[in-house]
């Protein structure tokens, strides 16, 4: 995942992009393959506090880009993002709040 986390006036804004085909059931059926899309994305600060907890569907775009915000971080904090998909694959990436 590509993650950019910027802190300004106490609020951290994160732009994250996951690489995933986000294949819907309809499209997968047409292609004769199994549908697969990210179902859950989380972001954690310093491995302690959850700052994003998003359950998702087949309807986010391919290579989904998500922007979200939260309070409570300071520059240098570690931001870890993880996604899980329908078939159980998962990917975790770390970044630093700047």
């Amino acid at each position: 995942m590509e993650i950019k986390a910027k802190l300004k006036d106490g609020i951290t804004t994160v732009k994250a992009m996951a690489k995933h085909p986000m294949l819907t059931y309809d499209t997968a059926k047409k292609q004769g393959v199994e549908a697969n899309f990210i179902t859950h994305i989380t972001a954690t600060l310093n491995d302690k506090v959850v700052v994003l907890d998003m359950s998702t569907s087949q309807f986010l775009s391919k290579n989904p880009i998500i922007k979200f915000s939260f309070k409570g971080a300071v520059a240098g904090d570690k931001l870890t993002m993880t996604w899980v998909d329908l078939l159980g694959n998962t990917e975790t990436s770390d970044s630093v709040v700047k």
């Binding site: 609020i11 804004t13 986000m22 819907t24 059931y25 309809d26 499209t27 047409k30 549908a35 179902t39 859950h40 989380t42 954690t44 600060l45 491995d47 302690k48 506090v49 959850v50 700052v51 994003l52 907890d53 998003m54 359950s55 998702t56 569907s57 087949q58 309807f59 986010l60 775009s61 391919k62 989904p64 880009i65 998500i66 922007k67 979200f68 915000s69 939260f70 309070k71 409570g72 870890t80 993880t82 899980v84 329908l86 078939l87 159980g88 998962t90």
Partner: protein, 150 residues
């Protein structure tokens, strides 16, 4: 963690992945599977929150009036309401629920996502306030080129 697979339209897999240290992470795909198979927005909201009555204020929803590419429609939404969760629904696709976020005391409701819309329709964002009420905003838009590849 157990791994279960349900065949059929509402298929989902309980993955063995963790969520670290968390007090508040909730995977709504596991805890509320019926939300993700609901066809209409009203039905999905009702399955998520127990009611589909919402107050249309307090939520800002921005999306283009005409989406040139239905495969990646930018949707921005924000709210100042102290809330427990936020969810996005739309009426264009075979199922209505797009995503749902659990919030905690650090959360700021200010999100941007890119979603797929098969055809013109209405996007609805629902904010579940800590007061137990549902607040929402709607946006109807046209889609020039459908986004579910057919």
């Amino acid at each position: 963690m157990e791994r279960r697979k349900f065949l059929g339209f509402g298929i989902f897999a309980a993955a063995a992945a963790f969520v670290p240290g968390t007090l508040s992470a909730e995977d709504y795909r596991k805890t509320k599977p019926a939300v993700w198979t609901a066809h209409t927005v009203e039905d999905a909201i009702a399955k998520m929150y127990g009611t589909n009555v919402t107050i249309e204020q307090g939520v800002t929803l921005t999306a283009p009036d005409v989406a040139a590419n239905g495969g990646a429609v930018p949707v921005d939404f924000s709210s100042e309401i102290p809330a427990k969760s936020v969810a996005v629904f739309q009426s264009s696709n075979p199922e209505a629920a797009v995503c749902a976020m659990t919030l905690n005391e650090n959360s700021v409701i200010d999100y941007s996502i890119k979603m797929k819309l098969k055809q013109s329709g209405t996007i609805v964002v629902v904010v579940e306030g800590k007061d137990g009420k549902l607040y929402s905003a709607k946006k109807t838009l046209s889609v020039a080129l459908g986004g579910c590849e057919g």
